[in-house]
Every structure is written in C-alpha cells, then in structure tokens.
Subunit: 269 residues, 2 copies
DNA sequence: CGTTAACTTGATAGCATTCAACTAGCGTGG
DNA sequence: CCACGCTAGTTGAATGCTATCAAGTTAACG
C-alpha cells in the first residue's frame, strides 16, 4: 500500500509480508507478484479510531472500505427495543464493511470495540483493482462467502445451543481466528469485550453471560480476566461447545499456523 | 442457456427474458447484450428433484451450481442432537449453492422442500464466464453479499424477537421475495413448508409454531392452509413483525414490481 | 475519596420446550 | 369397503432455561 498523508496518518516500514490483507487473501489463493503489487499500490488512509466509535452507521452510503490493521471491531444493529445484536467480530486483516462495495445502503453499523487502527480504501480503487486483477476479486468474493458461513454458524448458535455451549462456541471461534493471525500465542488472546457486549453477540443477557462464564471458569475450560482470555483445556472446550471448525473454511491447522506471519511482523504494519 | 440432452432433460422455448438468472441479476446491474448472451450460453442440465431430496450434503465437494427454475429449496444443517437449523429458503432465480464455487467443502446441506426444477451448471463454466465477463462476477458476488444480509436478519430474528414477531417476520420476507419474482399475486403465495420445518427455520418447536400461527390467524393478519399463505393485512403484519425490508436490498417496491417479469413468462423456462 | 462502569449474586417471573394425547386427511392393501 | 398406518396439525399440562429486577461488590480513575 502506498502512503497518503492525512490527519491521523502514520508512516512506517511496510512490506508485502506485513500487509494484513495480502496475508489473509493469500491463505486461499496464491497471489502473483503483480497482484500483490496491486494490493500494495492501493491508496489508503490510515486512521486511529477510538473505543466504542462507529465506523459505519446503518443507512450510510459508504464510499470506502476499512481494513483492520490492529484492534477489534464488530458489526451490529440496534433493535427497536434498544437492544442490540452483534453479528460478527473483526480482527486484523478483516474488511468489516466489504459488503458496502456492493450495497447501496448499509443495513447495519460497524463499531470499534477498542482503540483500533484502520486503513480506509476508496471504493473506486477497489473496483479498479478488481477489474484489472479479477483473481483478487474472486479472493474478496470468497471472503464474503466465508463471512456468510460464519453468520450461519452464529444462527445455529443463538437458535440451537444453550447458553453454556453458546458462549463456549464463540470463544472457540475467536481463538481459532486469532490464532490464524498469530494473535493467540499459548492459547491466550486479548479480547476486549464486556459481558454486556458478549451477551449482544450470543443473544443472552449480561447477567446470564456472567453466570455462564463463571461456569466455564469453574469447569477449568478457560480463564478470562483483564480483557484477556486463556484457553485452559482446548479439547474439552471444543467438546462442550460442539465446535467444528469446518465452517471457518480455513486450511488445515498446521498449514494455517505455518503460513500465518509471525506476530512481530504483524505489529510492524 | 444452451441445451444439453440428459436423463431428466426437458426442451422448451427459451429467451433472455424467461431466464430466471438474468431476470434476477438484471435487477441490480444492467447486463449488456454480450453478457446476457454469455449467461444464456451457459451449459446446464435441467433436473427434477423430488420433495425432501438433498441436492447437496454437508462435507460434499461440489463441482456444479444449481439455479432454481421452479420450486422451493432450503439450506440447513443437522445439529448433533438431531435437531436441524434451516438457514434460508430459495425460490426461482436463486442459486442456493453459489457458495460452493468458492468453498472447498460444504458446511451445510441443501434440500428441496417440494418437487422442484433445477438447472445445474458446472463450476468451470461459471468460472470461465466470470473471467470473460467480470461484471457478471460482480453481480454474482453481490448475490453472496445479499445472502449474508439475510442471514444477519435471521440472526436478529432468532436471537432478538419473540415467537410471534419471529414467525410474522419470516412470512413478510418470503412475501416480499416471492412478490419480487411475481410469485405472490394478490398477497397470496404457495409456501409448502410444514410447521416442523418452519420451526427449524425460526428456532421454535413445532408445537409453538402451531400456537403462533393460530394467533396470527386469530388476529386476522394471515391465512395459511393447503400450503398456501395469504397476507390479509400487510400493514399490520409488517408492524407486528418489526419488518423493515432494507436488509433485502431490493429496488423500490414499485420499480421492483415493474421490472419483474410476468409470471406467465417465468413459467415458460 | 467520590464517581462510574463492569462485574457478581439472589429471587422472581415468563416464554418456550417437552411430553403426551388426540384429531384430521390420505393413501394403501386386505 | 373399511382397517390400518402415517403424516401433519392441534391442544393441554408440567418443566425449565433465561430474562428481569434489585442490590451489592470490585476496580479504575480523576
């Protein structure tokens, strides 16, 4: 990616390997040199967004897409009764509003769950890139499809599982995804969501989330303090959750881990 | 689409206008003559599938995509306890396993909910078409994104709404979608799902679906008999459901209705 | 050291599930 | 022709998971 100077811009060393979007797409399609160059050449604006700040709001007509460089975002919709449903969490390398490239009007909002760093790319640039490099378009399309698979699993979660499995399942998913970006060393990962927010994601009240987490801790499956989660017994946690990672459509775990860039490089972006 | 003779093959008059895929895609991107020709030129096999028959099974590695010509399909996944979650219903013009074009392995199954007619197109043909006509690729990508929006709304449905609104909401969605394909004249549409299946879609037991439908009937919002639903009070039904069609990402209702082909032409395919 | 957000704990209430029995429609076969 | 079985739909009663309400605790922060 080429740099553009702007209000919140930052400048730092950058390479193909440390570009989170390349890192992500390359797990499924092998990008040619020219394709990687095209991604690196995308104009973008790097911005810091604060905790709890909205990136996109329902009914917006977006003209750019965000790439998460660092931090945690979520998609959500506010329901009429003031309740809120969280649809997904987005970590480094994700494009939470990729949908906006195709939708006239957003049907949901996107917010930062902690201070985060985002790279904003204009829609025209993405469109042009996709026209010139159709395989990148296919790779991005694939991301949309993979997001859909996650939505389906979340539907299973809220409709078909009980509180205990439901909560465990979300933890399993976040662990696998973060591990895929080398952000969960030793089964431990930073996950800055409140119990209230967790409840909005799994369809439970904050009170019940609390009791459920206590049970997960009591059974020795996880520990969760200071916004950081540790998997204490991965096998039992998966079993308790009924977690089957197929829906995440990743490569085999070992390959996954091998191809992911080391965390140090990731931080360099 | 060009014809190929095969086991269940049928031959009949066919035009651009009666091709359900063109009809669907054209609502959002205007296809050029060449692009329409490319779609018409897709090789396909027309097949009849029986009620309750699986088109795709979980863990399959599909090599073709189905286009619904007539009938009703659903995506679903069987949960460990024998329960089943339905993720979506698919009507004329839909490509229920478009995902399969990008996923190595299917994470869910697809079944016919009544005897249906499908056009199967090999993945290679789709891939080739998308390479030659990137705008068709974009249109299909958009379909994937729109499917994702529906999943999100279903998540809201099962997680955030009560049985009454939940059931009403599904009816609203099916009505709008079917109307968009001119399959719901006079607020009446064929919807061959059992109460058990409806429960699998909205996350309720069949017993509770029954009581909920009775309430909807009692309040004079719908009638539902002989697998056919009639909207008796569209305004009140929408209000009861908390239904806001934005998430379906259609054009304005009037435009929508105007662009949809007449039902007679549709049947000709 | 007061204020606030996040977390914790207990008690009560309600929506939906489950179990169970019963009805209606429909095709099959004796 | 009727008995039978099967599926779909209906109804009632009891159980249970989770929400809600309410109060209290902890931790962070100015």
């Amino acid at each position: 990616m080429r740099f553009r100077l702007h209000d919140h811009e930052r400048s730092m060393p950058l390479s193909h390997a440390s570009n989170p979007l390349i890192a992500k797409l390359q797990r499924f399609v092998s990008l040619s040199r020219a394709e990687k160059d095209a991604i690196v050449a995308l104009p973008f604006i790097l911005k810091q967004v604060g905790d709890n700040q909205d990136i996109v709001r329902e009914r917006d007509k977006p003209s750019q897409c965000a790439i998460v460089v660092q931090g945690l975002l979520c998609r959500y919709k506010t329901l009429n009764e003031g309740a809120r449903q969280i649809f997904s969490f987005h970590i480094r390398g994700d494009m939470p509003d990729l949908d906006g490239l195709h939708l006239e009007i957003m049907d949901h909002s996107i917010a930062a769950m902690e201070a985060s760093t985002l790279a904003f790319v204009p829609h025209e640039s993405l469109t042009a890139m996709v026209e010139n490099y159709p395989r990148i378009g296919v790779a991005l399309w694939r991301e949309s499809v993979a997001d859909g698979a996650i939505y389906r699993e979340w539907m299973v979660n809220v409709a078909g599982r009980e509180a205990y499995q439901r909560t465990a399942h979300l933890i399993c998913e976040m662990y696998v995804r973060l591990r895929g970006m080398s952000l969960a060393p030793n089964g431990c990962f930073h996950f800055p969501v409140t119990q209230e927010e967790l409840g909005d994601a799994v369809g439970l009240s904050a009170v019940h989330v609390n009791r459920t987490l206590q049970q997960l801790r009591r059974e020795g499956l996880i520990s969760w303090k200071n916004r950081s989660v540790t998997i204490l017994d991965w096998d039992r946690l998966q079993k308790a959750a009924g977690f089957d990672p197929v829906y995440l459509h990743r490569l085999e775990p070992e390959v996954d881990a091998a191809m992911a860039m080391p965390q140090s490089l990731g931080q360099a972006f």
